[in-house]
Amino acid sequence: MTARPPTLADVCARPAWTGVAALAGAEHLHRPLTEVVVARDLDAVRPAAGALIAVLTPVTGADWRIDAALRRLADAGACGLLVSGRAAPLRATAILADRVGIPLLGTDDDIVALAVGLRELLSAPEMDRARLLVRAHEALSRRGTTPKEVAATVAALLGARVWILSGEGATLAGDPVEVEGFRTAPPMVQRHPHGRGVALFAPVPAHDADHADLWMGVLLDQNDAAWEETARGVAAVATMALRCWRADRRVEIERDARLRATVLGELLRLDGEPSAELRNRAGDLGWRLGGWHLGFHIGVPDGVDVLGSTAELLSALEAEGIQATLVERHDGWSGWVTLGSEPAPDAVGTVVNGVRRTQRRLARLASSHVGIGRAHAGPAGISATLGEAADAARLAANRREVGRFLHIDRLGLAQLLLAWTRTDTFQPAARDLLAPLSGQPGELDRTLAAYLDAESNLTETAAVLGVHRNTVAARIARVEALLGVDLGSADERLALHLACHTVLGDR
């Protein structure tokens, strides 16, 4: 340690010194302290420059020897006088302490213990730190220490205000202090001056290391470099404990998620009625297979911590009045709401609007895409509604104009599919498909579109285009040749039909 020596004010801010009061001369606590000298009684005081003189024998506040000692300390350039007992001194003594600039401290605690601790702190600050770190380690290494317990333990060890925040800055434990300059990213230790002291923020980095899962804040009363170093060490032990706690939680969450995913997988593959065993397992998870299910799918980009966000999403949905079942998927969540009877349109509307508001409100879901299926009945209904929801979500991914949110209602399925042909994915594909026709004589693309619209009827196509039937036949033959397709195939017909709608509709 090469830090400057502590001042008496620094020392008094330490937990071991909370029982020490400045009886007089409190304005003069800021001189560097280099030594502690223990005196048997006031008569034996041998002051030295930079020293705190600790007097063992209790004194009464009216003792003239306090005055004499203050003067001798001042003459020697000492730092302060610590006496046993906290009785207020005479006014005259208090004024004298200010006049000569020597603080008078008093305590009912064990002076020898204080002096020995202080001597160690001054001669070997790393000893003091090591002892505290060992204590922190002992207190925090127990498995399953919750954030609340971590905050309380660190607060007691450091005698400081300690609080724990989520990665987004929400309070998880303790009583947070508003500190100017604190940012929730990047996940590195932050230090901000706060009042006369310093606020430290220690992160628990997330698995991706570009943000923090948790933050621990510590407010130190004094700006004392050595003590701050100790506090950083304790904070490092504490964040380790918090990381441990998070990892444990994660394992639990993953176990639950895997269980849910397994049961859902079986439901999605359901063919007919579920087995009694599957009903039981679903029942264990609190799922109702009967009734009507209204499914939704929330897709998120790669890199979003789906597992770690489930709890937050559930409580956000709950805040919207939606009691949903959520299952983590590779790209987000499948969720559904189970209702007793076929939902009326306004009941569906409530769920749709609630999910939509949740998508907008949660920062984590900023770039998500959400689809909602129709309500379906019975155990097989879960699979049906989730299938629709997943399709709708896929479509919604490219539909920024609707806030990447789509609801498949009874009437909207066709529009939905048509709408899909206008997506960024499909349009280039459509143009590529029809590209060989462009620049060819005979309006091959229009002829193809009319032919398909006319359900492959050459005569009707000729009538629509106002050309001879043979002309149409010749053109269609050329189209088949240029595109290398067989218009007798229903699949290829459908694809070309959609492509024509897209490309020609664009013009």
Partner: protein, 376 residues
């Protein structure tokens, strides 16, 4: 050689003031003694003041005075018969006839009372006493410090009883005297074993009555609102502090004597002069530095009235000059200083004294007084 001095009634005020200053805040109600002296000598001359050298070397001199609670003295003043009772009891016990009396304590009430006692006894007063100031205990008598036995000691209470203790050491004398006092009504007249006139130079402190007269005259002649430093120099001492009393704290814990602390804030420097007291002012510290102690004299003088302020009178808000006057050289002797230095009062500090002690002969004004006496 000096010769007898006959103080007049006009000198009583000076004697009273001087004895009060030498009382260092204690020593009892000197004005009461002065009024007794005036009453008992009305229409008569005051007893003569002699140097011990004027007496034959073997002439016995008995020290007499008052011991006990001074508050009780005001309630029931001496009637006069107390002094012959004790002096004659000691004379009888030692089969001597005293040629003269001397005071036991020049500071305070006894500094004046010795003249009242001498007047009743029809004897002269020897210019000497056993303390040179006021002190609270019998082991602080010069004769005891010089190794002379105090016994036989006679005590007579204001309410009548007389006791003679003989064949006991000084410690027992002190104990017996203290146990006698409640029976006697709080105070008692006292007489100690006689000293030979030739021993007074070594077993007593000569010249202290003239010193009281001189201090009193000088002090009374000073302007009341005059410069405090000038006043201190005129009295042969130094000024410690001139300002207002910040705080007076009295503790009634450890011993029979009231202890306490007076703190005066200097008007000019803002320095704090703290005076520790126990019946008398014992130790003064300025901003924490000890600046004066017993056996030197620490006197507090009221700046508005010019009067010395006793330990029992001082209170916050008074304007006070704190003076440091030299104590008697007798007590500076290494064998004796332990009895009267700060440690004798449980104040753990070596004595803090002026460069020069008071030695009867070195006092210029005192020499002038003797010259005046010689001229008569």
């Amino acid at each position: 050689m000096t010769s007898a001095l006959a103080p007049s009634h006009d000198d009583i005020a000076a004697l009273e003031r001087g004895s009060t200053l030498l009382g260092c805040g204690g020593g009892g109600p000197t004005p009461l003694a002065a009024s007794l002296l005036r009453r008992w000598t009305a229409g008569k001359a005051l007893p003569r003041l002699l140097d011990a050298a004027e007496l034959p070397p073997d002439a016995p001199v008995i020290a007499t005075g008052i011991v006990g609670a001074t508050a009780a003295l005001a309630e029931k003043p001496p009637g006069g018969a107390e002094f012959p009772a004790v002096v004659e009891a000691v004379a009888a016990a030692t089969r001597t006839r005293p040629h003269a009396v001397m005071g036991i304590e020049v500071g305070g009430v006894n500094g004046v009372m010795v003249f009242a006692a001498a007047a009743v006894l029809g004897l002269d007063v020897v210019d000497a006493d056993l303390m040179g100031r006021a002190l609270p205990r019998l082991d602080q008598l010069a004769s005891a410090a010089a190794g002379r036995p105090l016994a036989p000691v006679a005590l007579a209470g204001g309410s009548g009883p007389t006791a003679v203790f003989d064949g006991i050491d000084d410690r027992a004398t002190e104990r017996l005297a203290r146990s006698f006092l409640p029976e006697a009504g709080g105070w008692a007249s006292v007489a100690f074993a006689p000293l030979r006139a030739a021993d007074i130079a070594n077993a007593a402190i000569p010249g202290t009555v003239r010193r009281a007269l001189h201090l009193g005259r000088t002090h009374l002649a000073l302007p009341v609102a005059g410069d405090a430093r000038t006043a201190a120099r005129a009295l042969g001492g130094e000024l410690l502090c001139d300002g207002r009393v910040l705080e007076v704290v009295r503790h009634r814990t450890r011993r029979t004597f009231a202890q306490g602390t007076v703190t005066v804030v200097d008007d000019a420097a803002g320095a704090l002069t703290r005076v520790e007291m126990e019946n008398e002012y014992l130790l003064a510290l300025t901003d924490g530095t000890p600046v004066a102690s017993t056996p030197d004299l620490i006197c507090l003088v009221d700046r508005r009235t010019g009067s010395p302020v006793g330990c029992d009178q001082v209170r916050a808000g008074l304007d006070i000059a704190v003076l440091h006057l030299p104590g008697a050289a007798f007590w500076r002797h290494p064998d004796r200083i332990g009895r009267v230095g700060p440690r004798a009062f449980d104040l753990a500090h070596p004595p803090v004294l002026l460069d020069r002690p008071w030695t009867g002969g070195s006092d210029p004004a005192d020499r002038a007084g003797r010259a005046a006496g010689a001229a008569r």
